[in-house]
């Protein structure tokens, strides 16, 4: 059948243009381009016409107008008189903050639960299993509502508190922590920290080379800890202790409204942030746990046995043999979980945490600049995604098996 219709390879020139794969490919691509351009043209002209009809000025000028609304949490100074652009920046930094903190805790939970899933202890094993199944199969939005609305009721009210070591306090207004206040000369501490980090990297390179050359090991971990903790501490002492902690101030007398924690003293981690991060970390951890479990199971048991045969004890076996190999399986799906967490942080809008989407939504409402705001959202999330995956790809390449 079709074999017979095929032109013989020797005479491609005689093939009609219709059957020439190259010409056909060109044609399809041309059609696609024309279709896309037409679609784009229709959308753009319609949009311009609609905007004109509705008297909505397009462009980015609105970013400099005064926002006029307050934002509960900001990583840098913001007030109602700041511009819409500043407000959006506040939202962006809040999104990044949630993503980073969420990823940190999700990774820790995820690894713990993933390893618990492989535990021989029946109770731990089942508990981890139930956790994973329960959390994975309930929508994240519902879980955010749960953490915010159900758990919120369980913590003490604004005029009471739970305290740990008299340093960390929790009530419905959030978690209060002491805030470091930096005085003049404290920049030396930062410099010392940077020096310590660079020194650790240098020493670790040296230690690795030495081990490769001579086989001698070097207590790298403790050296690094010593450097990173020690150097800034020395700088702190040398500069005459230019830093102190500002403790949250809990007022217990006076009018009831004034009782409770004083505004703007110490660090206040707002409950919206706590609930969102908890929900994101716990939800994503369930997925990470499954990835970790699959990763560890993917390392053949022979590897462990071989390591034991070489005389490695359990700890080093896990650290030097199993985990590095498992990581290769774990990292690619882990990356997409990190991306998911970042994108899911946009659900903040449901519980009043001022992330980029939430602040952007408010700005959209005040200005009607739908296209610009949605454009900013898309651009920011796309670049966050690309950045995260670029970083994880780099890390993955570093971890990848060097084939000989």
């Amino acid at each position: 059948m079709s074999v017979m219709e095929q032109d013989s390879a020797g005479a491609p020139a005689r093939a009609s243009l219709l059957n020439d794969p190259k010409a056909r490919g060109l044609f399809y691509q041309l059609v696609l381009i024309v279709a896309l351009v037409t679609l784009g043209y229709v959308i753009v002209t319609n949009t311009i016409a609609n905007l004109e009809r509705q008297n909505i000025a397009s462009g980015w000028g609105f970013l400099e107008n005064t926002a006029g609304f307050g934002i509960i949490q900001s990583l840098f100074p913001y007030s109602e008189t700041s511009s819409y652009g500043t407000a959006l920046l506040v939202g962006l930094f809040n999104t990044i903050l949630v993503a980073v903190v969420g990823i940190f805790f999700a990774t820790i939970f995820g690894f713990v639960i993933g390893i618990a899933r492989l535990s021989n202890n029946w109770v731990i094993n089942r508990l981890a299993y139930c956790y994973v199944e329960l959390v994975r199969n309930v929508p994240l939005l519902l879980q955010i509502f749960f953490w915010y609305f159900a758990v919120l009721r369980a913590v003490p009210g604004k005029r009471e508190k739970w305290s740990l070591f008299d340093t960390f306090h929790l009530n419905i207004g959030g978690m209060r922590l002491p805030k470091p206040i930096w005085e003049t000369g404290s920049h030396m501490i930062g410099i010392a920290l940077i020096v310590a980090i660079i020194a650790s990297v240098v020493v670790s390179n040296w230690a690795r080379k030495r081990q490769e050359a001579t086989g001698q090991q070097f207590p790298m971990f403790w050296t690094a800890v010593g450097l990173i903790v020690g150097l800034p501490f020395i700088a702190y002492l040398v500069m005459g202790m230019p830093m102190y902690w500002e403790h949250p101030n809990f007022v217990e007398t006076g009018p009831i409204l004034r009782r409770g924690f004083e505004l703007n003293v110490g660090i206040n981690v707002i409950p919206e942030f706590l609930a969102l991060t908890a929900a994101l970390a716990i939800y994503t951890a369930a997925f990470i746990a499954e990835i970790v479990r699959a990763g560890i199971q993917a390392v053949s048991h022979g590897q462990t046995e071989a390591a034991h045969a070489l005389g490695l004890r359990n700890g080093p076996t896990l650290r030097l043999v199993v985990i590095p190999q498992a990581m290769r399986v774990i990292i690619p799906p882990l990356t997409s979980q990190y991306l998911n967490l970042t994108k899911n942080s946009s659900l903040a809008v449901a519980i009043a945490f001022p992330d980029l989407v939430s602040v952007g939504g408010t700005v959209l409402n005040q200005t009607g600049q739908a296209i610009e705001i949605i454009g900013i959202w898309m651009a920011v999330y796309l670049s966050l995604s690309l950045l995260t995956s670029a970083f994880m790809n780099w890390y993955n390449q570093r971890m990848a098996l060097v084939e000989r």
């Binding site: 691509q29 109770v123 609305f149 659900l347």
Partner: protein, 383 residues
């Protein structure tokens, strides 16, 4: 050498060892799995404590303190100041709305018919050994959607009303959740296949367009896509043309899930050994016949678990439509909180708990099915 004793014969009985600890029965099992060492025992105790501290209050709330019957909030109001248990009476009163939304009562049979058809067609399709797969698939993917569409929205031929029109603003609850999730997944399947093929195409422009499309939708959160479809899409249309709100959401969801579907299908395509392609080409098949007859049937079978997992994700994500003001199951439950007849402190918890149970049943069931299929399909190209 010969005088060296090379053997040893035991002349007296070895001392009796104590009986080995039982490894069977409840005690033995517990000893092995729970208390094999001190650290293990500590873990067990901690585990039991955690489980108890979660399960006990839950049972207290959902069953012990719960109110099962009642006419209005009076029944569920907490006695003597304490927080009451779950108010199931409220769920009972609102149950039809949670399932059908505000669909007119006289027309609810139409939704029921659609639900029934859906189950009747899906079960044999999902059952691996059921016969008539092809007919079933055509019925499910082509005939059923048309029938369901007219059943749900209504049918008017030449001015005579056969089925009264029910506008989508009256749809709600589980109906909307299912419509969005199922439409999203079914409509995104062809688009996803096309994109997956496009991404593996040798034509540079098609490949580039596919990659950009896929990476764009995968890079942005669904909530911004929904905002886009609810606020920005009307701007794209010529004056006077409006899309139904549900339709707008469906478009957004479909484009979004098509990108994920494309990646799932691409995984399936990659799993097909090159020999299959080469064999097909050697037979002289062109691109589409090769795809249609050889590659896709194998690839799609392989990606069934992936599709089900995407569906689970989409099913959970439909809850986000409540943020753009649609009444899916969770949105319908939330909107029922505004009814003063039933407002009690436990109303919110009860509603959310009900939603969680419904979602869990659906998602857990589907994930079991996905695992079942995965094991079943694990035989194909394993080397």
């Amino acid at each position: 050498m010969s005088d060296t004793k090379m053997f040893h014969i035991r002349t007296e009985e070895a001392p009796l060892l104590p009986a080995p600890v039982s490894t069977t029965g409840v005690i033995g099992w517990m000893r092995q799995n729970l208390f094999s060492s001190i650290s293990n025992t500590i873990l067990t105790v901690i585990g039991i404590l955690i489980a108890y501290s979660i399960v006990a209050p839950f049972i207290q709330f959902a069953i012990v303190d719960a109110v099962w019957n009642g006419e209005n909030r009076e029944a569920c109001l907490p006695q003597d100041g304490a927080h009451g248990g779950a108010c199931w009476a409220y769920v009972k009163a609102y149950f039809p709305q949670f399932i059908y939304g505000r669909y007119p009562t006289d027309e609810i049979w139409r939704v029921n018919v659609v639900y029934a058809l859906f189950v009747l067609l899906l079960v044999p399709l999902a059952w691996p050994s059921a016969p008539f797969k092809r007919t079933n698939a055509i019925l499910f993917l082509v005939v059923f959607p048309i029938v369901a569409y007219f059943l749900l929205t209504g049918l008017v031929i030449g001015g005579s009303v056969i089925l009264p029109i029910v506008e989508t603003a009256r749809w709600g609850g589980l109906l909307v959740t299912l419509v969005i999730a199922v439409t999203g997944i079914v409509a995104s399947l062809p688009l996803g296949i096309a994109l997956a093929l496009g991404r593996r195409s040798k034509m540079p422009i098609i490949k580039m367009v596919s990659i950009i499309f896929i990476e764009f939708w995968r890079g942005v959160p669904l909530i911004t896509v929904l905002f886009m479809s609810s606020v920005m899409l009307p701007l794209f249309l010529p004056e006077g043309v409006t899309f139904d709100k549900l339709l707008r959401v469906l478009i957004g969801v479909t484009l979004f899930s098509a990108a994920y579907m494309a990646e799932v299908v691409r995984g399936g395509l990659q799993a097909i050994p090159k020999g299959q392609y080469e064999g097909a080409m050697a037979l002289g098949l062109r691109f589409w016949p090769m795809m249609y007859l050889i590659v896709l049937p194998q690839a799609l079978k392989l990606v069934i678990p992936g599709i089900v997992n995407t569906f689970i994700g989409l099913f959970k994500d439909t809850t986000l439509v409540l943020i753009v003001g649609m009444f899916d199951l969770l949105g319908q439950i939330q909107s029922s909180f505004t009814d003063p007849t039933w407002s009690t402190p436990s109303q919110g918890h009860t509603g959310y708990l009900f939603a969680a149970i419904v979602f869990f049943i659906f998602c857990f069931g589907m994930s079991r099915y996905s695992i079942f299929m995965e094991n079943k399909l694990h035989t194909g190209h394993k080397r």
